[in-house]
């Protein structure tokens, strides 16, 4: 691990700005990790990621796969004895990592989110087929789930054309704001 981060612009500071809560609130009890449904797939437990940020080990936090594996289920946030919203913290770590163009480990998750948001940007609504198509092209995971598609199509659950929002300028405005 690296030495203490002495930058003024620490990850802790950015997260506090984004979430209006201080990482110092966490007293490292581990209750969040204990109840996390995806804990077993994570290298670092959620409380460890918080710990990294508390101590200024920002690189460790930003490169950890944990925030990307987090399913945003809010189990941790609803049980934290210190009222620390861990899910929101994870959102913020991801946001900063993207902003800093960190080479994240969980590329597929990142690509999935990108594909999903692209559909919203284009259509104002999520378009599953378009999203899956884009995702597959991005990840080259061409054969995953193909067995389900014919049935989905048959059942009318996968439409090949997007449902579009008519008035899309507001959506554009929101997206423009984050560029």
């Amino acid at each position: 691990m690296h030495a203490h981060n002495t930058h003024v612009e620490t990850l802790a500071g950015k997260i506090e700005e984004l979430t209006s809560q201080s990482v110092m609130q966490c007293y490292q009890c581990g209750k969040c990790s204990a109840g996390c449904p995806v804990r077993n797939y994570m290298e670092d437990s959620p409380n460890q990621v918080i710990r990294y940020v508390q101590l200024g080990f920002d690189d460790e936090a930003l490169h950890s796969s944990t925030p990307w594996l987090c399913a945003s289920c809010l189990t941790c946030s609803s049980r934290c004895p210190q009222n620390f919203d861990i899910a929101k913290f994870m959102d913020a770590v991801r946001e900063v990592a993207l902003e800093m163009e960190i080479d994240v480990k969980e590329k597929d998750v990142k690509k999935f989110h990108e594909a999903f948001l692209n559909q919203i940007k284009k259509n104002g609504k999520a378009f599953e087929f378009g999203m899956v198509r884009e995702y597959k092209l991005k990840t080259l995971n061409l054969f995953q789930d193909v067995e389900l598609f014919p049935e989905m199509l048959l059942k009318g659950k996968l439409s090949l054309l997007p449902h579009k929002k008519k008035d899309i300028k507001h959506i554009k405005k929101v997206f423009d704001e984050i560029k």
Binding site: C29, G30, A34, R39, N40, S45, N47, T75, R79, P81
Partner: protein
Amino acid sequence: MRIGVFVCQCGENIGRTVDCPAVAEAAGRFPGVAYSVEYKYMCSDPGQNLIKNMIKEKNLDAIVVGSCSPHMHEKTFRKAALDAGVNPFLCEIANLREHCSWVHEDIVDATKKAIDLVRIAVEKVKKNTPLTPIRVPVTKRSLVIGGGISGIQAALDIANAGFECVLVEKEPSIGGHMSQLSETFPTLDCSQCILTPRMVEVYQHPKIKLLTYSEVENVEGFIGNFKVTIRKKARSIDESKCTGCGLCVQKCPIKKKAYNEFEENLAHRPAVYVPFPQAVPNIPVIDRTVCTYYQTGKCQMCVKVCGREAIFFEQQDEMITEEVGSIVVATGYKLYSIDKKPEESEIKGYGEYGYGKYKDVIDGLQFERIASASGPTSGEILRPSDNKVPKKIVFIQCVGSRDESKGFSYCSKICCMYTAKHAMLYKHKVHDGEAYVFYMDIRAGGKGYDEFVRRAIEEDHVKYIRGRVSRIYEEDGKYIVRGEDTIAGKPITIDADLVVLATAMIAQPNAVKLAQTIGMSYDKYGFYNEAHPKLRPVEVSTAGVFLAGACQSPKDIPESVAMASAAASKSLVLFGSDFLEREPTVAKVNESVCAGCFYCQKVCAYNAIEKKEIKDRKGNLVKVIAYVNSGLCQGFGTCNAVCPSKSVELIGFNDEQIYAEINAL
């Protein structure tokens, strides 16, 4: 008037943010100030001598000390003034520390404010008049509220010193929580064995009047002279006739309708019952809510078997008044429990642990009863759901405490210790069993305490896991406990047979009501506030009222007993003299202008204002005016504020004095 101003630096405490020489210098130029000086530690002996010498040398007749809060050293400096021949009430304090140097950072601003504060005090002291303290007689008896170990100890200490004592306990027996405990840390001696002799001693003590099943309804008066009204609830048994033979209890046909509170609801009790075998007094009570006679008018089995004709269905609550000079409050605590959650409380409960849902997720006191030789399982460790010996047991610490979100943010202080004790007791009784403790920190700061915890770990092989548990659910008769070992950084799941939650000690549900009856302050959790956290830990801000035990904050037995003895000795200090000196800040009526409207009487909470008839020389009634009984007057001055003709003044805080302060602002 020749006023002296003494500015204290308090070492660095004031000096760091207030330019003391500048303050002294500015004060020297105030009209009426004959001398001013600054010094490093005014309360030290040389500091006090400085004051005394200067009073004499400079012929001062009033002083102002710019120092710490008057709550800290007003007495000290008044005494110094008195020693030098100046009336102590011609001494005023300007609070330059708590209200200035400690709360401000900018030297210039703070110094400016300090000068203002001194000026205000100087203007006030100009309007002060010499006063003499009021002497009131002391009633040398004490009231102790609460009959747990703290109340028992306090009552015995006072009584053994030769003074009478009234002990009021709301339950049918004294003993409190200690009577429920199995063995006690850190020595593992049997709780009942050390407690019972004390309970008996209380019962037999000629100087102790024991009122069980009783509650304090009202408190009037003040230090040295309290008048207390106590409600003695109807037991439905004539105490003077009952011999405690227990026949009624045995024969009462109602067996299962009521939970046994003493056994923490792990067993049932009859309608007529004694809380536990060693109860003091050993006299039953009838629970009218379940007794068949009270519900339907039938049964009366107890009447039939009682040879002493002691059953007394028509008995009524009785009001008793007692006059005492001091009050010791020792009302103890409650254990955080979701079943008995206090009304309107913010407690959200622990649904994720199934607390209140699963029979085998219990709290600390329930475990005490299970481990107790006199408990429902006769001391065998059996779990409530199926009476089987649990082979894997999990203890979870800090439940309800150190939890902003679901409970209370304070540390309950004793649960680390009682959990170690529980784990140890378990291991001693179930040799092949496995015990796990989930903890966040181990707080075992007492004599022999950490050694005790280490023994649990090293000798009894209790496995301590650092982390909070997130979830417990039942699966095939096991309780799946999901935690995280934050030291190893690994999730951990245990299939336990029994789970014990170390829940927090919390304030008694009626604590606030009692505080209001007596006039004590309490913290946001309902624990009573001591007058000073370090220097007056057993007093409250209401004079003559003392605190003992867990009603002040979570405490174990040794601390409770120490505090009880301290509270008792504070009472004894009071009883050491026949008279008591009181501040002369009382109201006084100017008879020549009083119009006799008696607005003042309506607002006086202490009934201190009486009617006085003024007669002429022939004995004809001229007018009826107000008169203040200075023995009763507590000096809060509402009479002064409401009197339309300003005929009543509060000495020490009269209009003139306060205007002087306002003018100096």
